[in-house]
Symmetry: C2
Subunit: 542 residues, 2 copies
Amino acid sequence: MRPLTRPVLAAVLLAAVMPLTSARAATRTPPTIAGPILNLDSTQFFFEHSAAEMNGETVDAYIDLVARSGIRTFITCVNAQKANYASRVWEHDWSGYDPKGPDDQPVLRYLAPGAIAMTRHRLEAAKRLADEGINLHARMLARCRQQGIGAWVSVRMNDLHDCLLEDSSLLSTFYKAHRAAGQLRAPYRGGAWWADRGLDWEQPDVQEHYFQLVTEQLDTLDLDGLELDWMRFVFHFRPGHELEGGRIITAWMRRVRTACDQAAVRRGHPVLLGVRVPSRPETARRCGLDGAAWAREGLVDLVVPTPFWATTDFDMPMTEWQRLLAGTGARLAGGIEIRYQPVPNGPAVMMSPELTVGAALPVLHDGADLVYLFNYDPLPLERMTTANGKTPLWSAKSLGTVFHALQSEAALAAQPRLHAVTFHDIRAPGEPADNPLPATDTRQDFQWPPGCAIRIATGPKPAGRAAELRIEYDAATVGSEKLRVFVNSTECPATPGGHGPGRTYPVPNAVLQDEAQVVEVVSAPEASYHIVRLELFIPGAN
Amino acid sequence: MRPLTRPVLAAVLLAAVMPLTSARAATRTPPTIAGPILNLDSTQFFFEHSAAEMNGETVDAYIDLVARSGIRTFITCVNAQKANYASRVWEHDWSGYDPKGPDDQPVLRYLAPGAIAMTRHRLEAAKRLADEGINLHARMLARCRQQGIGAWVSVRMNDLHDCLLEDSSLLSTFYKAHRAAGQLRAPYRGGAWWADRGLDWEQPDVQEHYFQLVTEQLDTLDLDGLELDWMRFVFHFRPGHELEGGRIITAWMRRVRTACDQAAVRRGHPVLLGVRVPSRPETARRCGLDGAAWAREGLVDLVVPTPFWATTDFDMPMTEWQRLLAGTGARLAGGIEIRYQPVPNGPAVMMSPELTVGAALPVLHDGADLVYLFNYDPLPLERMTTANGKTPLWSAKSLGTVFHALQSEAALAAQPRLHAVTFHDIRAPGEPADNPLPATDTRQDFQWPPGCAIRIATGPKPAGRAAELRIEYDAATVGSEKLRVFVNSTECPATPGGHGPGRTYPVPNAVLQDEAQVVEVVSAPEASYHIVRLELFIPGAN
């Protein structure tokens, strides 16, 4: 087993005079990683730009926008099931695509009709850039260096976009062969659920397939860090095989760690290793994605607990993560997603600036070093400002303000923020559901009091500012005006004249607690309710 | 802030030559505590023995039975809301009780009629022992020393037995005054739920009241360790004030820690400090009972995650606890309760020998140092063997076998064991429910597959032995014979000819995994089900 400490920098500095292994016993200092971190999806750049725009300057301009918006570490993703560049070890996205061929060629014909044109646009853009002799990632990383921001690459470890289709530009030959052979993760349920269609990481050829792509990045790119994105798409083993599978992944990661260390020696600077894992440590472990164990073994420099996709998780246990990583030298970043969905399978909206602050502030307050954004590409967010006549969620100004504020807790705490209650959208197989919403009026019994209680994470107590609690009841709710609402045991009456399904409850500053508030809705005769959204708004500091 | 390390033993040895504080920087070695640990309720001994039996030999005989049964650390509880011995700082249980008075005297008249005689029996026994000049605990601890087992005392920090009654021998004057003044934890819900009636530990007089009782133990008894039982009854703060309250408790515990260290110097041996806290670390922290933080600060030597009362918790995250305590020098024990209740507020039974092994084995396997038993007093368990004509759950033989086996994982793993699925019976205010049972047939959607999945913790994989999965469906279940059941992705058909609501599914040894199994019940047309009990039986090694 590797020792707990793994000083990459020391290894680099000492490489000339002593073997790598003897340097590992030194005390490990945490690496320098600046936040916020932004992950760019492997398809996004080619959706956003046309083939005609494909040249090095377009790539540079994109990175310039990223840096200008306030991002301090940029991570470019190189793959789904294929590489999005001209890889020598994997197929690339435009493999099997004939630009002159018809719309019913194999990689297009199973798409929804509306998706064909945009897919052709993307594939032609990617192909053009490669034909120009430009590696997207090499160019991006170089420009990041010029801009003084961290330059990372992400590899997705089991991407399943389009996995329910017979064919698609996103499905690799390797994947389709495994699928045809019945070698996926859980074929016995009939394959209707996407997660049952993942590759099975207990299979050695799967491990080797991904190792090739990972080492190609280390061999060909000058990167500050490599991210292994285990959250695309989370489920890598036959149900019930996650713990055994986790040991296989850990052994595999030791190989990657060694490759990173070797790359660091070649490059003369650290090559860090990061992972994205489920938002709760025990869930992560039970998925075979034991981020805490990897940190304790000194395998990783950055651990990013994060939701999967359905919703930003407003209640990630960052204090617990921080404690589990203490002394390991690994940095902790909390992952924010672009969707906000209070109730599973219920309505979802895009994260607003206020929601982004509301999600990120507890992350930093409760113990994370950094904020990490996924699916927050600034280019579409900026363009949304002019896309239609409606009031846009984001503007270039608000984007810059929020992204810059994400650099520190103090800056974030001065922004207007909207804290929310969502759910953990990843559970390990067999873990019970624990969705806070919808919340209803439970009868008092031995175990629990009458009414309901909901905890909302809010980060630091605002200095001197009051807050506003916003509760949305469902349409079947009766008598919501009769309910008594308490925040931290103090009754907070509703603002008179509430309309529609939502009610607001002013919360005096003196009632607020640090880190989280407990909202209790106490039953009333002739009232019945379901809460489908619960938020706490805190205005910005003037 | 205190340093992370706190070497009691070193403090004792060095006390003559250097001040206590300078010894704290030394590396801390974990204290010696042997398991299993048994906690004895403050009323139990006086229910089990009559006033006529009250003498030192009866006390000694009881401890001899405890030691003989296999217990290696004994903890005697000194209080509920009153002391169960002749305290100089608190009322005692028989305060306000008139042995010659009628059944309608204040401390008796609100009891259920059937409880009066046994209460009088208990109070008279306790009074008699005190009148004989014997301190129950001093005698017990001395006998423990003679028997070579650990001798501890437990103080309950907020006992609420009988709190819904106007008066009772279990209610203190201190408590009743707080209640009359409306100074309890959550009076605003009307007081119908017991937990709303706890004392509020943010109040300084509450803190002092308990500090007096704690220091009396340290001043008057020669003990190996002092336990602070925060799980009686868990909720010590106004809802929403738990985190702030937790800081108050932590400051209070520093005073107790100092008092223990001073007692250690006086006694010439370590006086350890232990705590009982909720079964999950983040729940514990959110209850203001941050066992991991106390260990990290060097305040405690023993942390006992445990359920409250309703049911033994068969899925306590011991790996996570072990990691959080790593390097602190604190020992970790998993708490087992005497009740087994698969569904909240559903049927409950007493833990059998097989269930006790099934609960304890994962505790040791997953990272705890010790097993801790609550409400497992061996005397009634032994007496049950002759109490009626039915087959008893326990015999003197099985009790000795199981208690001795609880000393080590290897011994436990050779016993027949029944693993089960229960629920976490303590959640912090506002934490959502996450009860695994009843489990039903969910439709497949984006988030989850069709059917249901249940994880069952099982400890080490048995060498060479097959297992039997036992599922009980509720009475409304239709077509359970059509359901397909998978264990770790392998289909396990039911034993033919199942009868009634239960079905059994043999599980080959090769299918079993280490630590936990994932059971999936896959839906079938024309079938609908609710699972109300799920167990895995593994026979003993021959």
